[in-house]
């Protein structure tokens, strides 16, 4: 895909990033927030791989970074979902604004 300029790939990833941002801010459902975070992470991954592919094809650094990001994302999701399930058991909801007993 040498014909596709790097800029277009970056525009794609930026768009995904801010879509994820929007989801993170606007949604109240914790699982939705989690999904938005996944989108954000993926856009970063795209960036890493694109830079690796276009600018530094003689190295694999970007690939490694995105690989570790994926790994960390997996761990993050596992813990996050454990927390969400636990919260659901306590509050019977996954709405982030209903789980505010520690407020004030």
């Amino acid at each position: 895909m040498e014909q596709v300029p790097l800029l277009h790939v970056l525009i794609l990833s930026t768009t995904i990033f801010f879509l994820g941002m929007y989801g993170f801010f606007a949604r109240r459902n914790m699982l939705m927030i989690l999904m938005s975070i996944e989108l954000i992470l993926n856009s970063v991954n795209i960036n890493f791989l694109a830079f690796n592919h276009y600018l530094y094809p003689h190295q694999l650094e970007g690939l490694f970074f995105s690989m570790f990001i994926i790994t960390v994302a997996a761990g993050e999701v596992a813990v996050a979902i454990a927390i969400i399930i636990n919260l659901y058991r306590r509050f019977n909801t996954v709405d982030i604004e209903d789980t505010n007993t520690m407020k004030y």
Partner: protein, 170 residues
């Protein structure tokens, strides 16, 4: 043809990402996310990162999204929409995200990248594996170990968090 494929993929990715974020049916959201991630794997494939594409599908699609869907199953009722949010919230977040997008794109478009002229290295499993487990320069064995520790602690941590305490069981 490849270029066309990229733009089709990109359009699909953005569409499904947007649908992920805007959908009011959480399960559909998850499915849209899944689609987005799969198409992103397609982008990786086009960038000759087949290994990364496979990883993306195995871990994200086979692991993370399935996990999310499971928690959707556990915490939501089928056939019900999740409640909507006040408009102000949408506007606030939308405006801010749009501003950010505009800012970043503005910077990006003005910037010119200088591609490398060096001979590319193929991202085969063998190459990745060699560099991953090498402990010389550019070796990633240390982060690899750290990540394995991290995964172990995430494993233990999530089990501990989600475990029912004894009195709760009664």
């Amino acid at each position: 043809m490849e270029t066309a494929l990229f733009y089709i993929l990109a359009g699909l990715i953005v569409t499904f990402a947007a649908m992920t974020v805007f959908s009011r049916q959480i399960f559909r959201s998850a499915i849209y996310l899944l689609t987005t991630l799969t198409f992103i794997a397609g982008i990786y494939m086009m960038m000759e990162m087949a290994f990364m594409a496979a990883l993306q599908i195995i871990i994200y699609v086979g692991g993370i999204v399935v996990l999310i869907i499971f928690s959707v199953f556990l915490t939501h009722k089928s056939g019900e929409n999740i409640p909507g949010q006040p408009l102000g919230r949408h506007i606030r977040s939308g405006v801010l995200a749009a501003l950010g997008l505009v800012l970043v794109l503005g910077v990006l478009i003005d910037y010119s990248f200088t591609p490398s002229m060096q001979a590319p290295i193929e991202a085969t499993v063998q190459n990745v594996g060699r560099q991953m487990l090498s402990y010389t320069d550019y070796g990633y064995v240390f982060p690899f170990e750290i990540v394995s520790l991290f995964l172990l602690s995430a494993l233990v941590g999530s089990i501990v968090i989600a475990m029912r305490s004894k009195e709760e069981k009664k």
